[in-house]
C-alpha cells in the first residue's frame, strides 16, 4: 500500500491506495485543515508533527508503506514553461545519468520564475513535461522551496519512513489524462493545467478563470507547441470531473474526491505502466501484451517469422 500526503492551501490530505492489474484502488482518503502550512514545512520538527498528525501517531504502521508527498496550488509550488536549444540539454562530458540529470535540473533552476527566489533562498526543480523539437526543447518545470524538500527528507529519515517521491499536481494530471484526441484544460482550485499530446502548461491563478485569461493561455499553447486553433481543439474540465479523461480505471473514485485521488495516483503509478496500458489499448486492443512486455516482444518475434 502507498500513502500520499497532499499538501494544498493550508489543507493536508492523506490518501492511501494500491495499484494492481493496471487499476488504481483508492482505499482511504482524509483531509484536515492546517493553519499556516508553510510554518510546518519550514522546519523538520514541523513536518514530523504534521506526519504524526496525519497518521494519528501510529508512525510504526506508516513505516511499512511507501510514502509520497504531493504539492498543489497554494503550498509554495510554482510552474514555468520555457524553451532552450536542444544542444544545451546534453554534453559529451556527461557520462552518467546523474551528470545528465544535474545539467537538465540546473537549466531548470536558471529558468526559475521571477519572484520565486525573492521568496525562497533556494529552490528545487522537477521536470513536468518536455516537448523535444529538432532544435528547441520546450520544458514545463515545477519549483518548490529547497527548505521544504530538505525538511521532508529529514523528517522521514528521522521517523524511519521510506520517502518514495515528492511530486506536484500538474505531473499527476499529465500522467493520467488521455489527450490523444484533443487537449484538455483542467481547472483546479488556484491552478489551470493544460495537457496535450506534446506536453503541458500550468498557470497558478489567484482569481477565477475567465475568457481573457483563456485567450492568454491558448496563445501561449500555440506559441510553445505545434497546435493551431488551440481553443477549438480543447476541452475544459473541472478537476473534480476527470473520470472520463483518465487513461486507467479507478476504483473508489465515486466515494472520494476525484482531484485528490488523481494527484495521489499520479505520485504512485509508474509512467512506464501508463505507457504500456496506452499502447495495449492503441495497438493491441484484443490481443493483450504491450510492445515492451515479454509477451509483446514474443508476439513481435513470431509475427516477423
Amino acid at each position: 500500500m502507498s500513502i500520499v500526503i497532499i499538501l494544498g492551501n493550508n489543507k493536508v490530505s492523506c490518501v492511501s491506495l494500491t495499484v494492481k492489474d493496471k487499476t488504481v484502488n483508492i482505499l482511504e482518503a482524509d483531509s484536515r485543515h492546517f493553519d499556516d502550512l508553510s510554518s510546518f514545512l519550514s522546519s523538520a520538527d514541523g513536518v514530523k508533527s504534521l506526519l504524526s498528525s496525519c497518521f494519528g501517531g501510529d508512525l510504526k504502521a506508516a513505516a511499512e508503506h511507501k510514502i509520497y508527498f504531493a504539492f498543489t496550488a497554494g503550498s509554495g509550488l510554482a510552474y514555468k514553461t520555457w524553451q532552450a536549444a536542444a544542444s544545451s540539454f546534453s554534453d559529451v562530458s556527461d557520462k552518467t545519468f546523474a551528470d545528465k540529470e544535474d545539467r537538465i535540473l540546473s537549466l531548470c533552476i536558471e529558468n526559475v520564475p521571477q519572484g520565486f527566489t525573492d521568496l525562497y533562498k533556494d529552490c528545487v526543480a522537477s521536470v513536468v513535461s518536455c516537448y523535444e523539437d529538432d532544435e528547441v526543447y520546450t520544458v514545463t518545470s515545477a519549483y518548490l522551496p529547497g527548505l521544504y524538500i530538505n525538511n521532508i527528507k529529514e523528517a522521514c529519515e528521522t521517523l524511519g519512513l521510506t520517502l518514495f517521491g515528492i511530486s506536484d499536481i500538474a505531473s499527476s494530471f499529465c500522467k493520467f489524462i488521455n489527450c490523444s484526441e484533443q487537449q484538455v484544460l483542467v481547472r483546479a482550485n488556484g491552478l489551470t493545467v493544460i495537457v496535450n499530446q506534446f506536453g503541458s502548461l500550468a498557470f497558478m491563478m489567484n482569481g477565477d478563470y475567465s475568457d481573457s485569461i483563456g485567450d492568454i493561455i491558448f496563445n501561449m499553447i500555440e506559441h510553445y507547441y505545434p497546435i493551431n486553433n488551440s481553443r477549438m481543439n480543447s476541452q475544459t474540465v473541472s478537476s473534480s470531473d476527470l473520470e472520463p479523461f483518465l487513461v486507467v480505471p479507478f476504483n473508489g473514485l465515486s466515494r472520494y474526491n476525484c482531484e485528490m485521488s488523481v494527484i495521489a495516483a499520479g505520485c504512485v503509478v509508474d509512467s512506464k505502466m501508463l505507457a504500456e496500458s496506452n499502447e495495449t489499448v492503441k495497438s493491441n486492443p484484443d490481443k493483450g501484451g504491450s510492445k515492451n512486455s515479454v509477451i509483446g516482444k514474443l508476439r513481435k518475434l513470431f509475427e516477423k517469422k
Binding site: E101, I104, V139, F164
Partner: protein, 185 residues
C-alpha cells in the same frame, strides 16, 4: 525523453535508494534463507559423509580358509607353470591341448584328451556331423602328424566322435631336428 526523474523532486538515485531500502528486508530474508539452506546442506552432507565413513563394515574372513585358498592358488600357478615347461618324452602337452581347444568349432564339445608320444586322442560330441569334418580340417599339427576320425556314432541326435592324430616319429623328429647347412647340395 530527458534523463530526469519526471514529475519528482527527488533525484533518480534517491528514489532508487528508497526502493532498495523498502525492499531490503525482503532481500535480507532471501539472503539469510539461502545462507541457512547452504549451511544446512553442508552440515548434512558432512554428517552423511562422516556416518558413511564410520559405518563401513570391515571385511570378516577366516584366517585358516584364507591360508588354504592361498596355498591352492600357489599350487595351481606352479602346476600351470610346470605344465608349460614340461616335455614328458618330448611331448609338449600344453601346446597340443591349446591346438585342440583353438581349432574346435563352437558346437563341438570335447570330453576327453589323451596324449601319448605315438598318438593324440580326442573325444567329444556335436549335434552337427559336418562340424567333425571341419574340426579335423582345422587340426594342423605339422608334418608327420595326421588326424583322422577313429569312430563316430549317432546317439539320439548327438554325434559322438573319436579323433586320433597319429604321430610319425621319424618325420616329426626330422622336422624338429635342425638341418645341417648345405646338406641338400
Amino acid at each position: 525523453m530527458l534523463s530526469v526523474n519526471y514529475g519528482n523532486f527527488l533525484r533518480k538515485s534517491e528514489t532508487a535508494k528508497a526502493a532498495y531500502e523498502f525492499k531490503r528486508p525482503v532481500y535480507q530474508f532471501i539472503a539469510n534463507t539461502v545462507c541457512v539452506f547452504c549451511l544446512a546442506g553442508a552440515v548434512t552432507s558432512g554428517l552423511a559423509l562422516a556416518y558413511a565413513y564410520m559405518a563401513t563394515p570391515k571385511p570378516v574372513y577366516s584366517q585358516e580358509l584364507y591360508g588354504k585358498a592361498q596355498s591352492l592358488n600357489n599350487n595351481l600357478s606352479r602346476g600351470a607353470a610346470l605344465m608349460k615347461q614340461g616335455r614328458p618324452r618330448g611331448v609338449n602337452a600344453y601346446e597340443i591341448i591349446n591346438k585342440f581347444a583353438n581349432a574346435r568349432p563352437a558346437d563341438v564339445t570335447l570330453t576327453d584328451i589323451v596324449i601319448s608320444p605315438e598318438q593324440y586322442t580326442v573325444k567329444g560330441f556335436t549335434p552337427n556331423q559336418d562340424s567333425v569334418n571341419a574340426y579335423i580340417s582345422a587340426l594342423d599339427f605339422g608334418k608327420g602328424k595326421k588326424a583322422g576320425v577313429a569312430s563316430i556314432s549317432n546317439n539320439k541326435g548327438t554325434n559322438e566322435f573319436t579323433i586320433i592324430v597319429h604321430v610319425d616319429e621319424q618325420k616329426a623328429a626330422a622336422k624338429s631336428s635342425p638341418q645341417p647347412k648345405g646338406s641338400g647340395k
